[in-house]
């Protein structure tokens, strides 16, 4: 295995007496698709928030390319190249699809805010770059037809793609996808699976995802980490995970659908 791009080291979060997750450790290799699974309330979302800087771990740390990123505010984490998309389809509602993606290019702007205010040459060339890159991303995700639609008018499937486009616009190295398949039918899921693969294959991204949809997870992941009651109970390839008795127990013992494969 090459040097890991992301290292989760003993990450723990306690809220008062409640422990959201505890001592979670695993590495993510560059250009890997790694899924974090586990029953509801297992602490998966907290883990994502810890990685993206929305929640500071009580103990433990998160390293990106060997540098500690846990404890940094989200905008700094994003600046370094780790971006999170949200479980709820989060987009800027009162902007068009294209505006959404353009705004999300903020990180790449070289001009200062004053430069933007006075319309400096740098600012103008930035804006042109952003527009070009935004169109590029829109094409990549197949959103051409709706580029000038108001985001608030989009159906669920497109919203999710737009959320991904916003994430891509920051040109990250690592993208965290929070339940990308939730609420999708089989066809939509398969299309999304293809898309996530292309993120890695064509854009060279490392993809970390939290997901419930087991068939999709099994299909897409290089490796899987399973969390239950805030603790890591298994880690391995899809085949290893499917055969792991602790994983099966965790799923049978919960209200979630059995691990359908």
């Amino acid at each position: 295995m090459t040097a890991p791009i992301l290292q989760i080291k003993g990450v723990t979060k306690r809220y008062g007496g409640l422990t959201a997750n505890s001592d979670i450790t695993f590495d993510v290799a560059p250009r890997e698709i790694l899924s974090v699974i586990g029953p509801n309330g297992a602490g998966k979302s907290t883990l994502f928030k810890q990685i993206a800087g929305f929640v500071t771990p009580t103990t433990g740390e998160v390293l990106f390319k060997g540098n500690r990123i846990s404890g940094m505010p989200p905008h700094k984490v994003a600046r370094l190249g780790v971006v999170r998309t949200f479980q709820e389809t989060t987009i800027f509602k009162s902007m068009t699809v294209r505006e959404n993606v353009i705004v999300a290019h903020h990180l790449r702007s070289k001009a200062s805010l004053l430069g933007f205010f006075f319309g400096s040459g740098q600012a103008r060339s930035d804006e042109e770059d952003f527009a070009r890159s935004a169109d590029d991303i829109i094409d990549f995700l197949g959103l051409q037809a709706i580029r000038n639609e108001m985001a608030s008018n989009l159906p669920q499937g497109h919203l999710r793609a737009l959320g991904m486009a916003i994430g891509l616009a920051t040109h990250p190295d690592v993208i965290l996808l929070d339940e990308p398949f939730a609420g999708m039918n089989h066809d939509e899921t398969m299309r999304m699976v293809g898309l996530v693969r292309r993120l890695r294959d064509e854009r060279g991204l490392t993809v970390l995802l939290v997901e419930h949809d087991m068939p999709a997870v099994m299909k897409i992941s290089d490796r899987i980490v399973c969390i239950n009651f805030g603790e890591k109970i298994a880690e391995g390839t899809p085949a290893e995970i499917q055969a792991n008795p602790r994983v099966i127990e965790a799923y049978l013992g919960s209200e979630d659908a059995a691990i359908g494969m």
């Binding site: 905008h75 994003a78 705004v103 903020h106 990180l107 702007s109 319309g119 994430g167």
Partner: protein, 323 residues
Amino acid sequence: MTQSRLLGVGAFLLGVFVLVPAFIHLTGRWDFYYTLTSVALLSVSAAGVWLTFYIGRINIGQGAYALLGGYVSAILMTQGGVNFWLTLPLAGLFCAAVSVLIGVPILRLRGVYFAMVTLVLTEVARLTALALPITNGAKGITSIPLPGELSIFGLTLIPDFATLENPKLAFYLMAAALMVLTYLVLWRIVNSRLGHLCRSLQQNEELSASIGVNTAMLRVLAYAISSFFGGLAGAIFVAISQSIYPSSFVVSDSVNFMLYCFLGGLGYVFGPMLGTLLLYFGWDLLSVAREYQLLIYSGTMIALMLILPNGVLSLFDRKGGSK
């Protein structure tokens, strides 16, 4: 800039700087100068409130900064002998600096929480002015000189107001010029990348942070600009009335600034200007209704709210908005 927009701006400037004075000279309604000067200054203050709305914060504390700016200017003039024209930017900057100190902790609050704290802030400003020795308590500061001469290298740019035969006109022109400048700045902010970022903040702070926007800094920046406008307006008000008291700007003023923004429309840069004109001028005209003035005024406001809950400017929305 399209031709029609250029034309619109030209017509607006012509109206403000030529037609209004001409109308007043013809009709002899000199009192309109005071009213319209107030409208211009209040709309400068309201522009600041609007900007905080633009980042998704309800600001009911602008009165505090208007009061602060007024006192800074008054104290510098009466006790430091500083020229009014120098106190003007100093008042604005002082307010901006104070707003950064206050804003860093309170801008983390959202929704009604932020609104309520800012409301209390106005009251804190009044009580502080009452308690401090330098502000002279309830007696306030009076006999403040009129704005002096502004000259650069011996070249007089603006004459001493005391030597003018019509200081009312001078104040009007000054306030109007400031208003035009303020809205130019505001328009520029909103239509630059800074404005897009503010909008992203208004719509979704978490997402904004995750695409790399330093949300905390942007909020403070917008709030500081807002307070700067508040301070400027306050300082000029003091110059006009030549006095300032702790009750010169109170809670109801802060609430009014917010109302001007709402009424004009929160989605439109020129909303606060129109809102201020309608509400303040309307209030003034309604004085003929005597004891029914407040009833008619508030009744109309409620009615407008029912008919146009997204502001008067939303009337023009079908044509694509006037952003």
